[in-house]
Amino acid sequence: MKSIILASCLFFCTSLFAQSKIPAIDKSPMDMSYYPNNYPLLKISDKATEPMVARVIYSRPQKNGREIYGDLLEYGKLWRLGANEATEIEFYQNVTINAVKIKKGRYTLYTIPNADKWTIIVNKENDTWGSFRYDEKKDVVRMDVPVQKTDEPADAFFMYFDKINYTSFNLIAGWDNAKVAFPIILN
């Protein structure tokens, strides 16, 4: 048994040393979504009629046959709403979330998923990895939103914005058969 441990240790160490500074492609690729949707494309084709409001940068874990809710994501436990680096949302103008005024700038998003609702958390500790160092004292706002069923199961975790009207929009986040809509109001 000792030899197994030793062998795995050795393997582990060699793979560490074999790392160069050139990063490999992430298993959970990063992605970004804008509001208004596809703003960069609208911008270069002179079709952007509204100013840019928000952008989310997140990584996209994939289901890969796993049980997501209640298993990979434990109910009631903090989740980084993505993978790898903590998920970042940037507001390019002041907005209101759950009656709290949010100044423009960068924030980190977390969630606590439950079977019927997710608690979405906006936190001001940026540039961090995952939710390992989450500090509740740095929360800016929390909001509970009900869980909805996706029309079709999504293998890759997704986030995008959806317009409600001229003064508000939703951030939609979902994976597998569940999604939530998180309302953001323009000031």
């Binding site: 240790c9 490999a24 911008k43 270069i44």
Partner: protein
């Protein structure tokens, strides 16, 4: 037996953490794993050229998570990573992906964005903290690197009237050749080097700042 189990669990957890952070270089797959076999995501399909980000200090978010960093990072680049896929990347031929003398978005999809969280100096010129589009005009022996103010635009349409900085940097051979386009920072005595590499070509942009 209990001890062994504990060992194994510890080992598994640590390896998982490390593998989640970065795969060993040898495991780089030429194409994104199994991407084509996934059902289409009806909400936001996965990009063929995945987005990625690099920080300076290197791996800043991991260091922050480990309690090693508390201050702001110095710089960050957000870019997408096209794959070589057997194509000619740099050259003068008609089918070159990055044609000599033609502006290239240094990535794919959205324009590549570089953020400085403090003022920096590049080639003797002060660059104010903030975010910029960074793009290149590649040639056989050098790349022209350009910073541009036209943020949040799709990379195929580069408006040079927003250029704020331009400099030439030499290219050197990249060994081993890279399947995936890569931008990464590395430590330098004067601050940081921004390394941009794809296929068999590497270009390095020196960035100075007070530490």
């Amino acid at each position: 037996m209990n001890l062994f189990k504990k060992y194994l669990v510890c080992l598994l957890i640590t390896s998982c953490m490390f593998f989640a952070c970065k795969q060993p270089n040898g495991q780089t797959s030429p194409v994104p794993p199994a991407q084509d076999s996934l059902p289409a995501n009806p909400y936001a399909p996965l990009d063929r050229s995945q987005m990625d980000m690099s920080y300076f200090p290197v791996d800043f978010p991991l260091q922050k998570m480990n309690g090693l960093k508390t201050e702001l990072p110095v710089a960050r680049v957000i870019y997408s990573r096209p794959h070589k896929n057997g194509r000619v990347i740099f050259g003068n031929s008609e089918n070159s992906i990055c044609h000599y003398g033609k502006a290239w978005r240094l990535g794919a999809n959205e324009g590549t964005e570089i953020s400085f969280f403090k003022n920096v100096i590049i080639s003797g010129k002060n660059i104010a903290k903030g975010s910029y589009i960074i793009y290149a005009i590649p040639y056989a022996e050098k790349w022209t690197i350009i910073l541009n103010n036209n943020l949040y635009s799709w990379g195929l349409h580069i408006d040079s009237t927003y250029d704020i900085f331009k400099m030439d940097i030499p290219v050197s051979p990249q060994q081993p050749a890279l399947e995936d386009f890569t931008i990464v920072f590395s430590d330098a005595v004067y601050g940081a080097d921004l390394i941009m590499a794809w296929d068999n070509v590497k270009a390095v942009l020196p960035i100075e700042f007070s530490k």
